[in-house]
């Protein structure tokens, strides 16, 4: 698999299809994002499920790709992307964070083991270049367990889960969709600063409501969480609802605008579902 990716990257660079390839590089046993411009260095290119290229870099709160595009707007960048990364790129492009016209996506499919490990529902990109498409995992025991709970049990469950929060901001920092320079979670407007655990449920609710319709269910927040709060459970449920309400899925179609950014005329809501539960 990695051999094929290196070969294709070499071809793209030699044919001048792209000026650079953005991928992971192994150095001294560690993986880090690297911009390959020289074909001789392609031997150190790696792929990993542990590290996504859409990872946000701090403290500028800017995505690596958008940072590069801002510094060097004319460069054509090839990017090695899994299904989730491709969805992140599409969603970021919709929100004017990156320019997809200047990028060429090398879509790679995840293996069945990787899909099960991530509980990924769609472990392949639209623009599949390398690898075999495998079926995603549609069942998630956390989601089913939450849906089987009564309303009071749900509150008790989240109360315990949220009380574990150590306010590390890991979920926000890892999220490819969190790109605001001024973050509401840091301001004292809605949550009082200086408390641990932070205000229940407001602190984490801010992320749930902000990311609701743009979540591309990559699961980075849940993986980043040091105290194992099942954040992805809520995002998966919200995604189902948004699909029911607006027939919209984040990161799928570049031409489809996000429901919360459009009017009811542009993207109607199914009225019969709007008021009730």
């Amino acid at each position: 698999m990695i051999g094929n990716i290196r070969d294709l990257a070499r071809k793209w660079l030699e044919d001048k299809e792209v000026d650079a390839i953005f991928a992971l590089r192994e150095q001294n046993g560690y993986l880090a994002p690297y911009l390959f411009t020289n074909v001789d260095k392609l031997g150190s290119m790696e792929i990993s499920t542990q590290y996504r290229l859409s990872y946000t870099c701090r403290p500028s709160k800017e995505n690596i790709l958008s940072l590069m595009q801002r510094k060097e707007p004319s460069t054509r960048i090839g990017i090695v992307a899994r299904g989730c990364e491709e969805r992140a790129l599409i969603e970021l492009a919709k929100r004017s964070q990156i320019d997809l016209g200047k990028t060429k996506i090398m879509g790679i499919a995840c293996t069945q083991e990787e899909a099960i490990e991530c509980k990924c529902e769609r472990p392949y990109p639209d623009n599949l270049v390398l690898g075999q498409k495998v079926e995603g995992v549609s069942q998630d025991e956390n989601v089913d367990a939450l849906l089987n709970k009564s309303i009071t049990e749900r509150l008790a469950f989240w109360r315990y889960q949220f009380s574990k929060c150590i306010k590390c901001y890991g979920c926000r920092n890892a999220c490819p969709m969190c790109f605001c320079k001024d973050c509401k979670m840091e301001q004292g407007v809605f949550t009082e600063t200086g408390w641990l655990p932070p205000e229940i449920p407001m602190f984490l609710f801010i992320r749930f409501s902000h990311i609701s319709e743009r979540c591309i269910w990559c699961g980075e927040c849940e993986k980043a969480c040091p105290v194992d709060i099942p954040l992805l459970t809520l995002f998966k449920l919200l995604r189902r609802d948004i699909k029911d309400l607006f027939d919209y899925e984040a990161g799928m179609d570049m031409t489809q605008e996000a429901p919360l950014l459009t009017t009811l005329d542009e993207m109607p809501m199914k009225e019969e579902l709007a008021s009730g539960i």
Partner: protein
């Protein structure tokens, strides 16, 4: 035992619903005194955080009132409210707060009686649901929660 008197917070848009509430007052139409009105310039100003903040600060129910679709002073402000509140209701349900504690209605400046009808209905609905459980969680000392295992 004293009957439970809920606290209800209503976000009214400046151009329609607030005028509607004003009309209800001028016309001497009765409605329950449980409602506290906050005037916002547009129902689109009501962020989901406002609703959760209200609920965790002691409100038992939140009403969001805006202009009818098509009548918004800012053309599309209430379109966004409609979409946002639909998502928020579901999110509240998953978090363990009854979604019916939040209600979105359209009230025009001429509908004083409709305003009073909505407030009356909503108050009896919240009375049926009882006090908001979120209130106790937030007001408790946060450090107690850490020792609980569930």
């Amino acid at each position: 035992m004293v009957e439970f008197e809920p606290k209800i917070l209503a976000f009214c848009c400046n151009w329609c619903s607030y005028r509607g509430a004003d009309l209800a007052g001028i016309s001497r139409i009765k409605y329950p005194p449980n409602v506290r009105i906050i005037r916002v310039m547009c129902s689109g100003r009501v962020e989901p955080e406002f609703v959760v903040k209200a609920l965790s600060s002691g409100a038992d129910g939140v009403l969001v009132l805006g202009c009818h679709i098509g009548d918004c002073h800012y053309i599309y402000g209430n379109h966004r409210t409609a979409k946002r509140m639909a998502i928020l209701q579901r999110l509240l349900g998953y978090l363990g707060i009854e979604p019916s504690r939040l209600r979105l209605e359209w009230v025009s400046a001429a509908e004083g009686s409709r305003f009073s009808k909505i407030v009356t209905e909503f108050t009896s609905e919240i009375k049926r649901l009882g006090p908001n459980p979120l209130k106790n969680i937030t007001l408790q000392n946060p450090t107690i929660l850490r020792d609980e295992k569930r």
